[in-house]
Amino acid sequence: MASSEFPQLKCELGVLSKSDGSAALAEGESVMLASVCGPIEVKLQKLLTDKTSVECCYRSKAAEGIQDRFRETILKNICETALMASLHPRSSILVNLQEMQNGGQLLSCAVNAACLACLNAGVDMKFTFAAVSCFLNKFEEFSFVPPINENEVKALFVLVFNSTTGSIIASHTEGSFTTEQFQHGLKLCREQSQFVFKFFKESVINFDKDIE
């Protein structure tokens, strides 16, 4: 029922010299650039006395819109769950994302890039997180690769997993589908997330080797 093909992942860590951590990630045809700064000084408005305030800034290639704010909220919620926010009260961690190329799975690419950038910055995390996009086309077939024709997408699932317990930390869906289809998509994404975590591990190890 599902094609086992997964979009190729390629990444480069530490691409930006002036941020604390950065990563460029290509997931199939989608490319994102992420940078993490922090813990840094916090704006008085956003100051939290018990934990770090996590701020997310998402910039799309085209004109800014409320869609970007929506993505920022999703990313912020994920980062707040994963980062050890209570370690640095009265400070902030900035997660910036720049869309480079839209190949259909922007959100999962953004989440994965954010995770790699956090790893590269060395901010304390409770766990790493990986997002997987799964497409359901109009022939009711599941695929990790977006269909060439955008109109063929019946539904899109983006699921984000916790690396230690494997629990879901965020889910975003588009389109309409049945509960069974969602369950199946969830199963596929969960299996696939293991490969993404493996990719993260290899990327970080390779980066460390390069430095040495």
Binding site: I66, F70, E72, T73, E174, S176
Partner: protein
Amino acid sequence: MAEVYKSLNPLKYYRDYYSHDIRPDGREFSDIRPTIINVGSIKTADGSAIVKIGKTCVTCGVKAELCQPKPSMPDQGFLVPNVELPPLCYSKFKSGPPSDQAQTLTQLLADIIENSKCVNLEDLCILSDKLCWCLYADLICINYDGSIVDACLIALIACLKSVTLPQIDYNPALEVKQVNLQIRRPLKVNFTPVAVTFAIFDELNIY
């Protein structure tokens, strides 16, 4: 006494109730708060609704305007939701440009309408590539007390179901529009999407 206890040790306060499978206000876990819908309360709008879920209160009004369809989708009209979270509904909201939360809610509602296809946008087209309806659905939160997405969606759908659009006599050759306010037809709403908000407390109880 309970009030003092709640503010001194809020976690324990809730856990005490939840250990008996009941909420502090006496509801079971799967019960929703009493919900009231009032439709058509704003006479000057083309459709309106006020929804209360418990103490949360959201009002929605639809304004219909005539405009030209987008060249990329000449047979479709527009349905534009907009959520406002003014400072009067919650002390943490500040006045000024729409907050991130309000923008996120707006986008979420737009996504729900688009994905559920509850309103067929082609019904809003009067003449292809020339004239269509643009429905502005403005949602204003009066009291922010949880389950805001649920309240907004109920208000929006109830409001859309009450929308009536006047008949338009359009002469494309002369580009003359005649609005007949006497004859109004209701907007067709195909589906009723429903949102339900849950929270997980202590990983055990679904609240």
